[in-house]
Symmetry: C2
């Protein structure tokens, strides 16, 4: 028997994940750890190797790149947007809500990119603010959709990563490659 | 006459960017704003539209995805890695250092993914800590490379975005699409 799907998600699979999460703390803990390798290619282009996937990251011409791909700060916006979409679809599906359309427009404001360019020390070169405008069309009352959205924002992994201070541990090894 | 390149970067173009940055505050301010649109596709798969580029973001099978692409928290690691690579190449090139190899291994530790899965409220589902191990082979003394690395970490746009609190402004519009 084929199991039922909603929003492209297998409901039986969602139920099993929920059951595993509740009964197996080790399975949940395993989902707390994520990894990537990133390799310089040439100029400002790099490749990220993540499990079986390869991503390209670059810079636009204004920043001396060859525009092979979005740059790192654009990737951050894509990550936040996708995280909120996955969260919204997850939370809506668990309530039995069918989604017709869901699209997000994200704008990030960097405090002072000049610090990255080596110009003075006023402010910092990270995002100061990110606005997200979400447009949703779904089979539920507006009040319910607002509840799902609020829950999604509050429990978003990337949203919490950005809104809070992450402890960075950078380390350099100088090596000699053949 | 062709202009000189180092590490795949056009040195004359780098000089012009530096000159523009110093003389034209508006050109610098324009580089403070970045945008993306992210559209839900199906299940946990989304597409990000960034300038002329399209990225796919998904979830692995453990999270009910079809593993079409890395997920949002993996994208964050890729973004941090590429940002540090671009910064290192930029800062090294300005010092005339030729880079042979540069590769980063990133590991992110989420505080408690259970909050995203709807299990309890202990902790938060964002990254608590991210470790970055960089391996570099370049034509310079180790002390100089460590200086370039320290400067790169300090002035990294994504590094500062993660290490500091970003103000998120989420907004939902409920629409009806034809």
């Amino acid at each position: 028997m084929m199991s039922a799907t909603l929003n492209g998600l297998d409901l039986e699979q969602l139920r099993l994940i929920d059951q595993t999460a509740r009964s197996n703390p080790e399975a949940v803990a395993a989902l707390n750890r994520w990894s990537a390798r990133v390799r310089w290619q040439n100029g400002f282009t790099a490749q990220a190797l993540i499990r079986n996937h390869t991503l390209t990251l670059g810079e636009p011409a204004e920043l001396a790149g060859d525009d092979a791909a979005p740059n790192a700060v654009e990737y951050v916006l894509a990550a936040l947007g996708a995280c909120l979409i996955v969260g919204f679809v997850f939370n809506a599906t668990r309530r039995g809500i069918a989604i017709k359309n869901l699209e997000l427009a994200l704008d990030g404001q960097i405090d002072n990119i000049g610090v990255f360019l080596g110009l003075g020390q006023t402010g910092h070169p990270g995002y100061r603010e990110v606005t997200v405008k979400a447009y949703v069309d779904a089979d539920a009352d507006e009040a319910v959709l607002r509840e799902v959205w609020a829950e999604t924002v509050k429990t978003s992994p990337v949203g919490n990563t950005l809104a809070r201070q992450v402890s960075l541990k950078p380390e350099l090894a100088v090596v000699s490659t053949p």
